[in-house]
Symmetry: C2
Subunit: 125 residues, 2 copies
DNA sequence: CAATTGTGATAGTTCCATTATAACAGAGGT
DNA sequence: ACCTCTGTTATAATGGAACTATCACAATTG
């Protein structure tokens, strides 16, 4: 996986990194038990400060994507709290779909786009 | 429509207000040509500063939900740039659906949730 | 003229994001 | 034991965003 930070983006560096890790897990380039680069390695690799990487890893840990094993570093470990995830999904979608409706994007177009994106992630779900 | 600010939320006040206006338009409680409360009225009504309301209105204007008519105030005026809206939708969904996949939320569950939410907005779309 | 509209300038406060430097405990390799 | 690497914490400094406050101005309506 190739991690890169868009230094021109308005999105915070730690947020960009979080999202890329989640994308990597969803696309199964990182699987349960795999280790991510250490905070120092990752920091030097993508050109940001160690603490910014640490902040991203801390958030990912809290949200149930990683666990930390001293010496091994950050290990992909999925803690599935489906109920909470569904609640957050509903909240995000309510605003997102409101915008779609205002912009004349039909329900079917949203469904089609979702199928298209979901095909990039693991096989059968 | 009842506008309220959650002062305990991490979300910025201007962002909360933007989303509520968009929700109001999507649910057709505000229609093309309707006027929103003036920046001063709205500010006093929901208990925040005039300039924070102005910031929200400016963003909504730039994103094509309002136009500003001196003396009348903020008028709902939908400028549909569907191509841009689709691009932003795809970007938002790619991260959102990655999280769903990691949390074992199936494609069908996402489709069902979308139908449920979309039913709250205008009729036939 | 009076009142209200959006808008702009300026200033102050608070908080977040980011960087920098330093230090510490825990674990593996030699 | 010693060295090295891990995450983690503390502290400080900087820049910028969010929010508030006050004053002011051009434009429009009654």
């Amino acid at each position: 996986m190739w991690f890169t930070i868009d230094f021109e983006s308005e999105e915070a560096y730690y947020s960009q990194l979080c999202n890329q890790v989640i994308l990597g897990i969803a696309m199964e380039q990182y699987k349960e038990g795999d280790t991510l680069p250490s905070v120092r390695q990752m920091a030097e690799m993508i050109g940001i400060n160690m603490h910014t990487v640490n902040k991203a890893y801390s958030i990912l840990k809290q949200e149930g994507y990683l666990k930390v094993d001293n010496r091994r570093g950050a290990v992909v470990s999925l803690d599935v709290d489906k109920l909470r995830a569904m609640q957050e999904l509903q909240k995000s979608l309510s605003v997102l779909l409101a915008k779609c409706h205002c912009k004349n994007i039909t329900r079917d177009e949203v469904h089609a786009l979702i199928d298209e994106i979901y095909d990039n992630y693991g096989g059968e779900d």
